[in-house]
């Protein structure tokens, strides 16, 4: 059997050592196959039978988690994409998983009988970085869908002022200020999501400028989630930007004002999860309200949910939708209308 391991000096690499019985050409590439799905590894042989894979996107960890109790097979790729050579099954040295091992990840350790029944269905969490108006908008939308005590605001604003903006019924927890400690903010969001998953079947991780809709009614959709027991990470199938003009265009509810909703070409974020989600930092983005929630590490567990729409409120800027400026805040009247 092939063995995957890590070297502490090169944490971004995973090494796969093949048994001596297979002598792969030095320029050969490897693929891992589990559940009939093939994943090509990025890397090459650095010595006889030792393949080094640059594992920046945690591909091999994703494959390991997807495989769960099934086997993972190592294939050698050939020039002909139709032809692959099976080499052997993959196993792991403990150095591969030691840094990721956490006994509390599984509630089985407490000997829950069968599946652990979380006491409630859906929580909504939001990272807040200082836009009070959007925060009020967010709260007004989600309190129409869920009890306020099932809403959680992680206040990473410089002023840490969410407590002064929202009703006491909504949970507000101060976390590291995003502007000075972005990694800390994201780490807090990630660990808090796991805490919520100990109490709720599903956790919706939003930014305060994001609302979730469903083609056939979001309330019904959220109710129906209770019947889904398999762990899942759901991606909306459509993402729209809702400009501030939509708020002022008419007396209608803004989300019904479809002409002002602009489809975004960027893929949406996986917003609802019944499994742990690890957000990674995207420090390049200038959109501070959701820059940190651009990507998750558990990419291979994402499922697109048909009919689920993510609406992102975007400040109306002359040059597009990516800039946020404090000078273009909505006024209170607009928020109340929304």
């Amino acid at each position: 059997m092939a063995v995957a391991f890590r070297n502490q000096d090169q944490p971004m690499f995973v090494f796969i050592r093949l048994t001596e019985s297979y002598v792969a050409p030095s320029d050969a590439q490897l693929a891992l196959v589990t559940g009939g799905v093939r994943h090509e590894l990025v890397g090459g042989f650095i010595e006889k039978n030792l393949f080094a894979s640059r594992n920046t996107a945690f591909l091999i960890e994703n494959i390991g988690q997807t495989a769960s109790f099934s086997d993972i097979f190592v294939y050698q790729q050939t020039e002909n994409p139709e032809e692959e050579i099976f080499l052997e099954t993959l196993h792991f040295h403990h150095s591969f998983f030691m840094n990721f091992f956490d006994l509390a990840t599984s509630s089985d350790i407490y000997l829950f009988q069968g599946h652990y029944a979380r006491p409630a269905s859906v929580a909504v969490a939001a990272g807040y970085k200082g836009d009070r108006t959007l925060l009020k908008f967010w709260a007004s939308y989600y309190t129409r869908l869920l009890p306020p005590k099932h809403l959680y605001v992680l206040d990473g604003s410089d002023a840490q002022d969410a407590k002064h903006v929202l009703s006491k019924d909504i949970n507000i927890i101060c976390v590291p200020r995003f502007s000075s400690d972005q990694l800390g903010f994201i780490e807090a969001v990630n660990t808090f999501q796991r805490f919520l998953l100990a109490n709720f079947q599903w956790v919706m991780q939003t930014s305060v400028n994001e609302i979730l809709l469903h083609k056939f009614g979001i309330r019904q959709f959220l109710n129906d989630l209770q019947t889904r027991t398999a762990p899942a990470i759901l991606l909306p199938d459509r993402v729209y930007a809702l400009t501030s003009e939509a708020f002022t265009a008419s007396g209608e509810k803004p989300v019904a004002n479809l002409p002002h909703m602009v489809p975004l070409s960027a893929s949406g974020k996986p917003i609802l999860a019944s499994a742990p989600v690890t957000w990674s930092a995207d420090m390049q983005s200038t959109d501070t309200e959701h820059a940190d929630f651009a990507q998750i590490l558990e990419q291979h567990h994402i499922v697109t949910e048909a009919g689920l729409w993510l609406i992102r409120i975007v400040r109306n800027q002359p040059n597009g939708f990516s800039e946020v400026s404090s000078s273009t805040l909505f006024d209170e009247r607009e928020v109340k209308e929304a």
Binding site: M1, F69, L111, N171, I173, G184, A188, N190, R194, S280
Partner: protein
């Protein structure tokens, strides 16, 4: 090479398969070998050179997590390791499938980089319907950390409004009907969340005071400057006991330690409460699965206040563990509860281990 794996039927237990054929032999145990140390692990032979290890306390993971080097497995009989049975140990992905968390890795790296950004000490507790001692908890622990570093997990939805300072973080979570397993599970998760922001996280029940003989605040502050990540339990634990025949009803607006003096040692309450490493608590917070990280602090005391007043105890709902453990009597009526408590206190006061609270503790809580 031997391989360790789990099956869907055995998510806690481990299965070990040796490469070379192994026959069932009476008295044979698995030997896990790391460097020059050998651990003997009771195992059941289930055929096909495969053994089942119950692994009820996650001892296997404990040993593996301490090891940077290669691990070996062998077979021993009557304490003697058969040299020709030794095989190098590798793991199937099923071994870690349920215990693998990508956020864990980022937490380790970020925390190292972020040491100067993290705040020092957070203290948290959880409450349901028993809030009588919550104000006392607030009063004591705000002497150790700022109120915004105190966290109360409210899982009973019965916390009176404005009972606590608005600066204290109250996090409401859904009611879970007092399920002890659920409580330790969400507290272990919350500990990880707090460790993303604080260097030291303390968990105590609402009726527990953690006291260090050299100054608790100083002790925690010093701990927060250490690089070493560990879990600390007190070397001493006492139950503070009301003597209804000699001591008046408790006045919770005044320091409790000036109103009570009888204490009984309680070994069971040497809880691993002070953490700078991930802790996965067992029922009642009396132990953690990460035993290798636990150290005992000689000058640290845990004083439990559950029995500081007979009337208060009688008014309190029976302890949840008493309700869920099989074979326990059903909850009694109020008068029965008072009589039961009286008998309990009377018996406790006759305990030969009964002693007096150290003088230096008086006035601290």
């Amino acid at each position: 090479m031997a391989r360790a794996f789990r099956s869907q039927d055995h998510q806690r237990a481990l299965l070990i398969t040796f490469e070379r054929p192994v026959q069932k032999t009476e008295g044979m145990v698995i030997s896990l070998i790391r460097d020059k140390t050998v651990w003997l692990l009771p195992a059941t032979f289930i055929g096909d050179s495969t053994f089942l290890i119950e692994n009820s306390q996650f001892m296997f993971e404990e040993i593996v997590s301490q090891s940077g080097n290669t691990l070996f497995l062998g077979l021993s009989k009557d304490g003697v390791l058969a040299p020709d049975s030794i095989e190098i140990l590798f793991f199937h992905n099923s071994y870690f499938a349920n215990y693998f968390d990508l956020a864990r890795n980022s937490a380790r790296k970020n925390t190292l980089q972020r040491q100067n950004l993290c705040k020092h000490v957070a203290i948290f507790t959880q409450v349901a319907d028993d809030t009588a001692l919550l104000e006392n908890w607030q009063r004591y622990y705000t002497t150790l950390v700022p109120p915004d570093s105190l966290y109360v997990l409210d899982y009973g939805d019965a916390l009176p409004e404005n009972m606590l300072s608005p600066e204290i973080n109250i996090v409401k979570i859904p009611e879970s009907h007092g399920d002890e397993r659920h409580i330790v599970h969400f507290c272990s998760k919350f500990q990880r969340f707090l460790l993303s922001m604080y260097r030291v996280v303390v968990h105590v029940d609402v009726n527990e005071c953690l006291i260090h003989a050299s100054g608790t605040k100083q002790f925690l502050q010093t701990l927060a400057t250490e690089d070493e990540r560990r879990i600390i339990r007190p070397a001493h634990a006492y139950d503070l006991l009301h003597d209804p025949t000699a001591e008046a009803e408790i006045d919770l607006s005044q320091p409790i330690s000036l109103q009570r003096c009888n204490v009984i040692p309680n070994e069971y309450n040497k809880k691993p409460a002070v953490t700078s490493a991930y802790a996965t608590w067992g029922l009642g917070f009396h132990s953690v699965l990460e035993q290798a990280a636990v150290q005992e602090e000689q000058d640290l005391y845990l004083i439990q206040l559950a029995e500081i007043d007979l009337g208060l105890a009688a008014a309190r709902p029976r302890v949840r563990t008493e309700q869920i453990l099989p074979g326990n009597e059903p909850i009694k009526s109020d008068s029965d509860t008072l009589n039961w408590r009286k008998e309990q206190y009377s018996a406790r006061l006759k305990d030969p281990r009964l002693t007096t609270m150290p003088t230096w503790m008086r006035g601290l809580f």
